[in-house]
Each structure stands twice: as structure tokens, then as C-alpha cells.
């Protein structure tokens, strides 16, 4: 028995210049907010962007972007709809508000299915919003996409830093390129994020302050782009060479 799907993934991503996965290992550090906002930012500066939400248990990008009333087009595959210019793909189109209680292998299968039928077309960047975890979550992205670069997100908390450190070690073992580390939800600068980046020879991309007003902006791309969160992320995009 041969699974034909993995053979077509390279072709589906052929016109995508760079593939960037926003990962952490730790949950709740702002991966989704960074992924969605970065997509909006890059798109607003003229880049052609795709955004793929890979958190099947807790998809969030559609909430952040306020994606209602859009759905993918079926045309020799699946064509992701555009939202504020961003070509956006999520499992939420198919599951709505219901839980998708998928197990490890099933999650891999959904990921393969999405990669093999989604027609992204020409993109400057495909941004992948990773779920928490460092097993299937990251190993599958590495194994199936094959040419990912990673942006890592942490908070200044020990609990986050120590998990992100495990993720960094894991990515090193897998010999994956890391663009750099973002320290998010910073209340006071502690220097811990910088230390972690230095320890592993990774670029420290900058810190984003804890931004109370972000909660009210969720669901509205235009308001998100006006937050301090977005302004700091724009500087980080420049520091990372993405803009």
C-alpha cells in the first residue's frame, strides 16, 4: 500500500518562496497572535502571504482574523480564501465550533491531506502557526514540508523558557534553521530571553510588551494592526529580514 499524498506536497509548495513556522513547544505564549499578525503585516506591505493554522485542537487564527463567512473554493484542489489579502487555511472551515478529538496519527493525516490538496499558488511567505508540543507537532512539519524555517516564541517566565529550550534542542537535532526568538508578553525586561538565545547561538529578534488592548482588537485585523503588539512585531519582521 502506497500513500500517494506525500509525493505531491513538494509540487503544491513549489511557488512558495519561504515557509516559516511559528513554534514554541509551550502553549499560550502568543504563537497564534504572532502568526496572524505577522501575516497581516507582511501582506499590508505588499508581500503575498499564506497562513496555515495547524492547531487542530485549538484553532485560533480564524478568531484573531475575524474570519466568518469565508470558505475555501474547490478548484482542482482546495483554494484558500483571502482575508485582508492573506490566503488563509484552517480546519475551522470544516469543524466550526465543535471539538476535533484527533489522535496523533490522525493529526498527521489531516496535515498531509491539507498539504496535498491546498493550492497556495505564488507566495512570498507561507506562515505556519504550530500547535504546542514538540512531538508530532514539529516532527511532522519538518518531515513533510522539508524546507521550513522557524521563529520561536517564548514569554519571560521560567516555565516557558525551559520548554522553549527543549524545543531549541529538538530543532538542533533535526538540523532545522531557526530565524530567531521572540520574547512576548514582557512586563519588565529581565534579559532571560536574550540569555537563552545566546546560549544556543540563535538570533534574539526582540521583545513584545504585554499589551492589554490586544484582547479588544481580536477579531478585527485593522485594529490589530494599530496595537503596540503589531508595531513591535513590524520591527521584528525587519530585524528578521522578512521585510
Amino acid at each position: 500500500m502506497i500513500d500517494p499524498r506525500t509525493y505531491i506536497i513538494g509540487e503544491r509548495l513549489r511557488e512558495v518562496k519561504r515557509i516559516i513556522t511559528v513554534a514554541s513547544g509551550k502553549g499560550g505564549v502568543g504563537k497564534s497572535l504572532v502568526s496572524a499578525t505577522l501575516s497581516l503585516l507582511l501582506s499590508s506591505r505588499g508581500k503575498e502571504i499564506g497562513l496555515l493554522d495547524l492547531d487542530f485542537h485549538g484553532p485560533s487564527c480564524h478568531i484573531i482574523l475575524g474570519a466568518t463567512d469565508i470558505e475555501p473554493l474547490e478548484e482542482y484542489g482546495i483554494v484558500p480564501p483571502r482575508l485582508n489579502g492573506v490566503k488563509f487555511m484552517t480546519i475551522a472551515y470544516y469543524i466550526g465550533d465543535e471539538p476535533a478529538p484527533l489522535r496523533g496519527e490522525e493529526i498527521s493525516n489531516v496535515f498531509i491531506e491539507l498539504l496535498s490538496v491546498t493550492r497556495w499558488g505564488k507566495l512570498d511567505y507561507l506562515i505556519i502557526d504550530a500547535p504546542p508540543g514538540i512531538g508530532d507537532e514539529i516532527a511532522d512539519i519538518v518531515r513533510l514540508v522539508r524546507r521550513c524555517e522557524f521563529i520561536l516564541v517564548t514569554t519571560p517566565s521560567k516555565l516557558s523558557l525551559l520548554t522553549v529550550e527543549r524545543t531549541i534542542k529538538f530543532l538542533k537535532e533535526l538540523r532545522q534553521p531557526v530565524i530567531g526568538l521572540i520574547e512576548n508578553m514582557v512586563l519588565r525586561e529581565s534579559g532571560e530571553g536574550i540569555k537563552l538565545a545566546e546560549k544556543y547561538g540563535i538570533k534574539y529578534l526582540g521583545s513584545i510588551p504585554y499589551t492589554v488592548e490586544i484582547e479588544d482588537a481580536i477579531g478585527s485585523p485593522s485594529r490589530i494592526l494599530e496595537t503596540v503588539f503589531s508595531k513591535k512585531l513590524a520591527e521584528i519582521a525587519v530585524a528578521s529580514g522578512l521585510l
Binding site: D3, I8, E11, I95, P101, E106, E113, V117
Partner: protein
């Protein structure tokens, strides 16, 4: 439901890659369409035929078979088949499962104990059962 083309394209690409280092001609390919994904056989066959032109599959015989979809509950052990519940699925639901077969877990629970924690033991998606090339069979 035209994403059948994307699946057909995957099959052709897979055969091309797999036989790349072989010298023989491709004689026959058997593809199984898992019942769960409800792939439309006519469209799929048409897509395969069109997309095979000028490829090493051009003259190959394409055998298409249906694979029964079966489930087994991880909670109570009950086993059942897709055909026993097909009629209960709404159109939107069937469409979602057509694109991503695992979505079945969202809409269908174990008929015996109600659990969503069950395994799709067979008939999930599209598989190549074998590729016959001159003097060899790959599977």
C-alpha cells in the same frame, strides 16, 4: 467535487517518482478509493486519464477499486462500517469528510457507547495498492 483532480495528480506523481529508477514500462496501477472520503470515481478516472497524457502512465491500465470504511471504538471495542451510518450524514458534514476524512470524529460517535474516541481501521482515503511494471510488481 473537483478536488478529485488534486488526488489524481498525487497518484500520478507518486507513480512517476516510484518508478523513476526502474527501466520497465508501467503496465497497470491499482488505486483504492476509501469509502470514507467519498471520492467520485467518474471524475477521478477522468482526471487520471487527462493527467496521464505524456507521462509514463499514458498507456497503463488503471484499476480502481472501492475500499470499505470500518471503525473500531477505543472505549468499548465495538466495530462498525461506514455504510451502516452514511444516511445520517448531512451534506455539509459529508463535504467536510470528503476533504478531510478524520473530520468524521466530529460528526459521528460510536453507535454503541457514544464515544468519539474510535479508530478508522480501513477505508480512509486514496491508496495505491500496487504498480505493475514490466517484470516487477511494487506495493
Amino acid at each position: 467535487m473537483m478536488h478529485e483532480w488534486a488526488l489524481a495528480e498525487a497518484v500520478i506523481r507518486a507513480v512517476e517518482e516510484i518508478v523513476r529508477e526502474k527501466s520497465g514500462r508501467v503496465i497497470e496501477v491499482k488505486v483504492v478509493l476509501g469509502e470514507l472520503q467519498q471520492v467520485e470515481e467518474d471524475i477521478f478516472r477522468e482526471a487520471i486519464t487527462m493527467l496521464s497524457r505524456n507521462t509514463i502512465l499514458e498507456d497503463a491500465k488503471i484499476v480502481i477499486d472501492r475500499g470499505e470504511a470500518r471503525f473500531k471504538c477505543r472505549n468499548c471495542g465495538f466495530e462498525w462500517s461506514f455504510s451502516s451510518l452514511k444516511s445520517n450524514l448531512g451534506e455539509e458534514e459529508a463535504e467536510a469528510i470528503h476533504f478531510i476524512p478524520e473530520i468524521i470524529h466530529v460528526f459521528v460517535k460510536c453507535p454503541k457507547c457514544g464515544s468519539p474516541d474510535y479508530e478508522v481501521t480501513s477505508g480512509r482515503g486514496v491508496w495505491i495498492e500496487y504498480i505493475k511494471i514490466e517484470g516487477e510488481e511494487l506495493d
